[in-house]
């Protein structure tokens, strides 16, 4: 006897928000997809076996599920995702991963989020999920327009570091900004984005006395 199962991994796109020429947010209804802020999902186009991982951009309790995608022009999936329109179908699996805020540290620690480019995605999910969180978000980008949807973060908690223009809150890389900062002992650090930035920040934090036990990292590439 054949078992028929409705494939629940297909989602219909409900909205696409283009933030810059290369960055956009894809939204689908959340249905009963359960996750914890910081986790990622695996996304693919219908009838295409190529899939990629994307951090979840929306909060745990929102009715929608969102990802923030930065197009890699020479890449495979991201240019195709950029063409996606409302009503298109996407295949989504997940959630996956262990990146996130440990529950027992949530209210007892200060949380410093350090992101490069689209690496801001899991932090937006955390901020949306825990509105009371004591956090600081340091976002490294090239130009000011890459401060994706910065209105989501209160101005006193968000620092935009721009390396190619001086319209951000700090001119230079996140490492240069961090170099000048002092942190409380009970600070937890969360790094997300490219491995070179994460490597540099880990070194810098180590020199400031924060070992890997106070740092978690999500490497995109």
């Amino acid at each position: 006897m054949m078992d028929f199962k409705i494939d629940t991994n297909f989602y219909t796109v409900s909205q696409v928000r283009h933030l810059t020429e290369h960055a956009f947010v894809v939204q689908v209804p959340r249905r009963n997809f359960k996750f914890t802020a910081g986790q990622h999902l695996v996304l693919g186009m219908k009838d295409d076996y190529h899939t990629r991982e994307y951090s979840i951009y929306s909060g745990e309790n929102e009715e929608v599920l969102e990802v923030l995608v930065k197009e890699v022009e020479e890449g495979y999936l991201s240019p195709r995702l950029k063409q996606v329109k409302e009503g298109d179908s996407l295949e989504i699996h997940g959630p996956f991963g262990h990146f996130g805020i440990e529950e027992k540290k949530r209210d007892t620690h200060k949380h410093v989020f350090i992101a490069s480019g689209s690496g801001i995605a899991p932090f937006r999910s955390m901020v949306k999920t825990y509105p009371e969180l004591d956090y600081q978000l340091i976002h490294g980008v090239r130009t000011i327009d890459e401060g994706y949807e910065r209105e989501n973060y209160s101005t006193d908690r968000y620092v935009l570091c721009t390396s190619r223009d001086d319209n951000g809150d700090f001119k230079g890389r996140v490492t240069a900004y961090l170099h000048e900062q002092e942190f409380d002992k009970n600070t937890q650090f969360y790094l997300c984005g490219n491995s070179q930035m994460i490597f540099d920040v880990l070194e810098l934090l180590k020199n400031k006395g924060f070992g890997r036990d106070s740092v978690s990292a999500e490497v995109y590439f």
């Binding site: 006897m1 078992d3 190529h50 996956f96 262990h98 880990l202 070992g211 890997r212 490497v219």
Partner: protein
């Protein structure tokens, strides 16, 4: 009586799944024959973790078909998931059964023999539907507690072929262990894809091991390959239990922080070395072995030197060295600066030589000490087995029986390279 042969490639988990199938076929009245002997049904449990495993798997499938014309050839395992269409299109392959349906191969074949042709995709999916091993060519039996992995290390195909992490219900695990012990096994190996991430209704990996250790009887428990992340300090206390073997295969993969990040490993070198330090502080002779990948994309001479330094400082008793091989569909496939094969070969050889030196030094520390050996092979003049530290011991006495424990004093070392062995005298 139908004759069935099995061939397993790859990891301990695959071996366990084959052993369990062997037991089920035996119980159902099939005659189990060695692979290579004439058979009516050949089951090949493949592996796809490296290019070499693909190559070996393909060879074995061809052998199974050519040596047994007209036999039913059933291909399962990770390669069956990764190259399903290609395998299905091979004339000589009767069925391709993916990992999640592997436990249903017996009903599939039984149906086939009565003329009912099922498509493997109609079989139920259950990654834990394996009974206790009763018939096996081994003296130790694995116990599967977990399957799948969500870590997405950039070189690894496992999350794609084994699927997401799932944990086996604790009652099933304990029943499986009890049954396996009743079947006469003296050593069980706690196995899965990423067992450290076990989580079933709030129970962790540590809880599972504790509950297995609490089962009465004279047996030994070994932990199979472990990813070095997510452990609390009470993990180290587990090894105070006399039934838990003081050995861990802790996968390091690289000694370079940069490479570890590019691999998306969940720990750094400091954390790894801290684990080694804690284990050796508490249990000075603790045996740690590891996996190392050489020639990962962008691995510089400096990165590789960090790996050599890490291998030297951890004094691993064994290093399973893999030359990085591109797996289709992984993130590392798309990375720049792939390393040429000749450089990988040189690096792999360097690790091997260092590892052999470490192994000899480590074995020397056992001379004059006691080991409790579980006899695995009985030869004409001597027997062989493994001590609790998972080092091979040869004992010159043919009176000892397979699958019995014997306490010995280590008196010397014989053999060389990978074949080093300790010599023991019964006390």
């Amino acid at each position: 009586m139908k004759r069935v042969s099995f061939k397993t490639l790859g990891c301990r988990l695959n071996q366990y799944e084959t052993d369990s199938m062997v037991s089920e076929f035996h119980k159902a009245g099939y005659e189990i024959v060695d692979f290579g002997q004439p058979a009516d049904i050949c089951v090949v449990n493949t592996c796809t973790v490296t290019n070499q495993s693909d190559h070996k798997s393909r060879n074995i499938i061809s052998q199974a078909a050519s040596k047994n014309p007209g036999a039913m050839v059933v291909v399962t395992g990770c390669m069956a998931d990764n190259y399903k269409q290609e395998l299905e299109s091979r004339d000589k392959v009767t069925y391709v059964v993916d990992n999640s349906r592997k436990a249903s191969i017996l009903p599939l074949i039984a149906a086939h023999n009565t003329g009912e042709i099922l498509h493997p995709d109609q079989l139920p999916q259950n990654v834990f539907d394996y009974g206790a091993v009763s018939k096996s060519l081994h003296t130790r039996s694995a116990i599967k507690i977990q399957d799948g992995c969500d870590n997405f290390c950039t070189f690894c195909i496992i999350p794609k072929v084994r699927g997401r992490a799932v944990s086996r219900p604790i009652d099933e695990i304990l029943n499986n262990v009890k049954q396996t012990l009743e079947n006469g096994f003296k050593e069980i190996v706690v196995t899965g894809v990423n067992i450290g991430r076990y989580n079933y209704e709030g129970l962790t990996f540590i809880d599972v091991v504790k509950q297995i250790l609490a089962i009465p009887g004279d047996f030994r428990v070994r932990i199979s390959s472990l990813e070095p992340d997510g452990f609390s300090s009470d993990f180290f206390d587990l090894f105070e239990h006399p039934k838990l073997a003081p050995h861990l295969h802790l996968c390091l993969q690289s000694g370079s922080e940069k490479t570890l990040l590019q691999m998306r490993r969940m720990y750094n070198l400091d954390q790894y070395q801290e684990m080694v330090r804690q284990l050796r502080n508490k249990y000075p002779n603790f045996n740690i072995s590891t996996d190392i990948i050489v020639g990962f994309p962008d691995e510089s001479e400096e990165d590789f030197q960090h790996t050599l330094d890490a291998v030297a400082s951890a004094q691993f008793s064994h290093v399973h060295t893999f030359k990085y091989s591109v797996r289709k569909g992984t993130r590392a496939e798309r990375m720049e600066n792939q390393i040429p094969e000749p450089i990988k070969t040189i690096r792999s050889e360097q690790v091997r030589l260092l590892s052999e030196e470490n192994r000899l030094n480590y074995m020397r520390t056992f001379i004059g000490k006691e080991q409790r050996v579980l006899i695995e092979k009985v030869r004409e003049d001597f027997v062989e087995g493994y001590g609790e530290h998972y080092l091979p011991v040869q004992i010159a006495n043919s009176q000892l029986k397979k699958n019995t424990f014997v306490l010995v004093k280590i008196t010397g070392i014989t053999g060389e390279g990978e074949k080093l062995m300790m010599i023991g005298e019964p006390i």
